[in-house]
């Protein structure tokens, strides 16, 4: 899932300065699961904003709604009849959702309440770890299911570097060396031949906005 964390409260408050009526739009998918921007977080943030602005003698009227997914126009329709009542929209979705909201309501200021952080896994409740940089050219089949682009601090395709330290990365003793793990896993699977060959330089595909059109589908004529 996409993992995000809420922006510092003062930053959100500063973004909303000057707006008297704001609709806070939560997202019911990734950011709800990672406890950053779902229905509950919308309610908590609104209560905090309400209180802070009242203390400043500058009250704000906060509206609340959480849609299934902000990255899907179908789920944004429900907002069409609401947005005109507000001066601005605050989005608790990931960066993709925030942009889709802004695209749908181009006359409205759409402001982010979270910092989108990574594509990751749920290690424990409230604990998330990054696993994928969406490079568009997955090498996990060669690297024992451990991503060197994400998990190696240098993103090396032919590691480990000379800085690997008793299984840890040179940047931090608590950060495991990705290539040490790759080696250990492939060795246990008797698949070290996977990394005997040199991996050539990556054709970096994440340098421009990417589009995916699945087989049998085409770009809609009217958006």
């Amino acid at each position: 899932m996409i993992v995000a964390k809420r922006k510092p409260f003062d930053e959100i408050k500063s973004l909303l300065k000057g707006y008297g009526k704001v609709l806070n739009v939560g997202c019911g998918t990734c950011v709800a699961v990672c406890l950053a921007g779902g229905e509950k977080e919308v309610a908590v943030l609104n209560a905090e904003l309400d209180m802070a602005r009242r203390l400043e003698d500058n009250p704000v009227e906060m509206g609340a709604i959480t849609v299934e997914r902000q990255c899907d126009m179908e789920y944004l329709e429900v907002l069409d009849s609401m947005v005109n009542e507000y001066d601005a929209l605050l989005s608790m979705a990931c960066g993709a959702g925030i942009q889709f909201l802004a695209e749908r309501y181009p006359e409205k200021p759409v402001l982010p309440a979270v910092d989108t952080t990574f594509i990751g896994v749920n290690r424990a409740v409230g604990w998330y770890e990054e696993r994928c940089r969406s490079c568009s050219s997955c090498v996990l089949g060669l690297t024992g299911g451990i991503c060197p682009v994400t998990m190696c601090a240098k993103g090396l395709y032919n590691g480990p570097c000379g800085g690997t330290n008793k299984g840890s990365c040179e940047i931090d003793k608590n950060q495991p060396c990705a290539w040490y793990m790759i080696y250990e896993r492939l060795k246990a699977q008797n698949r070290l031949d996977c990394i005997m060959e040199i991996t050539p330089p990556s054709d970096w595909q994440n340098q421009v906005p990417r589009t995916v059109i699945q087989p049998g589908y085409k770009k809609p004529e009217k958006v």
Partner: protein
């Protein structure tokens, strides 16, 4: 000859090579480079010019390399993957070659987190293995990584590093094999203190026939003090400093520790001269360039061959 560099000539003639190291200044004073170079002149076959080592900004490696060329020394131009993408790397290589630089050392580079700009974006567009392959392609095929032709391709003697001590130890020899497959001509190792482990690694390399395909230069850094030895042991990733070495330094008077460090380095060099598969020594006298003449003399590395 692949490049015709002095280092290549010394090695192909079968001499036991001796290379040094010079860290460029954190400023613009060319005389600082010249002063350090003056200690190394006539003492070594080539001088590694480090590239923003420990991720700290310094005078560009190619620029300091040109200064020492003008002083009559041969640079071994170090290039790390941390700070440049493939365009910048290739254009720097062209420029370096145009100025007479003939040796290169291809490295990943210390992570930017260690340096004076920890917030910098690490580039790592390609890694050290891929950099070796890129320089080889530029030299042997006369082509850029992108595939287009180079007019007057750079003829570089290609070097890389090897750390026989980092984990996993069993993989280290295979990593060397990969660098050879990528096209490396010579290897300079990480500073060696654990001689036992180094002997094992060289034997593995000999057994796999690797030392016949690459010139292996053993990395030596004399310890200046017990403090330095402890620091290297505990704080430098991938460094293997045995307790016996620290004990030996502790066993002499504080004033004599540096001398003892040089003595240990000379003993190591003596052994490397005899060791099958080792083609030379890379002396990394960190901020100790003025000691290189003494070390070269005591290690009986003088005079340097003229090929």
């Amino acid at each position: 000859m692949k490049s015709g560099s002095n280092l290549e000539k010394v090695l192909t003639a079968g001499h036991f090579a001796f290379t040094g190291e010079l860290g460029p200044p954190r400023g613009t004073d060319a005389d600082e480079v010249r002063k350090k170079a003056s200690h190394l002149k006539g003492m070594v076959d080539a001088v590694n010019i480090t590239d923003n080592q420990t991720a700290v900004v310094r005078m560009a490696s190619w620029a300091a390399s040109i200064i020492i060329l003008q002083e009559g020394l041969e640079p071994n131009y170090q290039m790390v993957c941390r700070d440049r993408n493939r365009l910048a790397m290739q254009s720097d290589i062209l420029g370096a070659y145009a100025h007479g630089i003939r040796n290169m050392l291809c490295l990943s580079g210390d992570h930017q987190k260690f340096g004076d700009h920890p917030q910098a974006k690490g580039v790592f567009d390609i890694d050290s293995m891929q950099l070796i392959g890129m320089v080889k392609r530029m030299r042997d095929e006369g082509k850029f990584l992108g595939g287009t032709e180079i007019s007057h391709p750079p003829k570089i003697f290609i070097g890389a590093a090897a750390n026989p001590f980092a984990d996993p130890f069993e993989w280290r020899v295979h990593r060397l094999a990969k660098k050879i497959k990528a096209g490396v001509d010579f290897i300079q190792t990480q500073c060696i203190y654990n001689m036992e482990k180094f002997r094992t690694w060289v034997k593995q390399s000999n057994d796999m026939g690797l030392t016949e395909k690459v010139y292996l230069l053993a990395g030596v850094t004399p310890m200046k003090s017990v403090g330095m030895a402890k620091y290297m042991k505990n704080n430098v990733p991938g460094m293997d400093v045995p307790d016996e070495l620290i004990k030996r330094l502790q066993g002499v008077d504080k004033k004599m520790q540096a001398d003892e460090g040089i003595k240990i380095a000379c003993e190591q060099i003596d052994e490397f001269k005899q060791m099958k598969g080792v083609a030379g020594v890379h002396l990394m006298a960190i901020e100790w360039e003025h000691k290189v003449p003494e070390i070269a003399e005591r290690a009986k590395m003088l005079p340097r061959p003229i090929v």
